[in-house]
């Protein structure tokens, strides 16, 4: 490096320093390179080249104004995953939303999803809830029993494999009613800790 270049260069090094740089081991050079790429601004608010920089960088991940829409999206997704992606049993749902237990009016209609305590209204669920009804209408229980009876002409007693809450709520009532209509007996095969 010539003297004139050294005089105008902000990062220029003397000839003596050039010689010592050559003696720097490969490991140390590698460490220096890493430090060159990943370094924070100096406390004085200037870069290693002496240029002014902002000590606190504002990016989408650190700026609340920029990241707020993203946060809202993630929160909604989290709720969606918690409430909709897992197949929920009624007991599980009630443990999340205990207030539904205190609204017996939601259970008054035995032939709808509302009766299971899942939502106040299917058309407009309210709160932060929506989803797909995977259980189907209670009529499907009757149709299932009809299929069993069709497949087994000698059928007299049908077992219902369920947990106690299922046997005692509207689904169990639908099973008992369907069996009664078809002239069969129904026996619950439930367990306390199913």
């Amino acid at each position: 490096m010539v003297a004139s270049t050294m005089a105008y260069s902000m990062s220029g090094v003397s000839e003596q320093a050039s010689k010592s740089l050559v003696k720097t081991s490969a490991l140390t050079q590698s460490r220096y390179r890493l430090k060159t790429v990943f370094q924070l601004p100096k406390s004085g608010g200037r870069s290693r080249h002496g240029l002014p920089v902002r000590k606190i960088q504002s990016t989408a991940s650190s700026n609340r104004r920029l990241s707020l829409p993203l946060l809202l999206g993630v929160r909604r997704l989290t709720q969606a995953m918690r409430l909709h992606l897992r197949p929920l049993g009624v007991c599980q749902y009630e443990s999340i939303h205990p207030k539904l237990e205190s609204q017996p009016s939601l259970r008054s209609n035995p032939d709808s999803q509302q009766s299971l305590g899942l939502v106040a209204s299917i058309a407009r669920p309210g709160d932060n809830i929506t989803g797909v009804a995977i259980v189907g209408e209670l009529k499907i229980i009757e149709r299932r029993m009809g299929l069993l009876a069709e497949a087994m002409p000698k059928l007299s007693t049908i077992g219902y494999l369920a947990s106690r809450p299922s046997w005692e709520d509207s689904r169990g009532a639908a099973v008992r009613e369907a069996a009664k209509r078809a002239g069969h007996f129904v026996v619950a095969c439930y367990a306390e800790r199913f």
Partner: protein
């Protein structure tokens, strides 16, 4: 919650039904899906004609099921999540209720159980 749906409880429930029923209807609690292999196996051991809540049970050798298509349910879930991420309020999106129900049965299991002539006498005693 799901941990309480354990194998021992299923075995106990099947031993309860063995003496008093000649067919079984599995309730539509989704928790059964996690133990579907156990349920199908116990029903096969007991030689009891059983109708299940989802078609997955039939895939494992269960006798028959009348149910919605779960793959379609997953697609509906994806649509819902898309709507929510685009800014819709979940509470304003109506619940989707399936109207197309599929019925499926497995002839191999039906042949083994022969439900047309099934009676308690044909089932092995415990």
């Amino acid at each position: 919650m799901l941990s309480v749906f354990n194998e021992a409880e299923y075995q106990r429930a099947f031993s309860m039904e063995h003496d008093c029923t000649n067919a079984l209807n599995v309730s539509d609690e989704p928790e059964h899906i996690t133990r579907r292999a156990t349920v199908v196996e116990l029903a096969a051991q007991d030689r009891i004609p059983t109708i299940y809540l989802f078609l997955d049970f039939v895939d494992l050798g269960g006798l028959m099921a009348r149910s919605i298509d779960r793959a379609d349910v997953d697609r509906r879930f994806a649509n819902l999540i898309d709507k929510i991420l685009r800014g819709s309020n979940p509470g304003d999106i109506p619940f989707y209720q399936h109207t197309n129900v599929r019925w499926s049965s497995i002839s191999k299991t039906a042949k083994a159980l022969d439900p047309r002539n099934a009676s308690d006498a044909a089932r092995p005693r415990r």
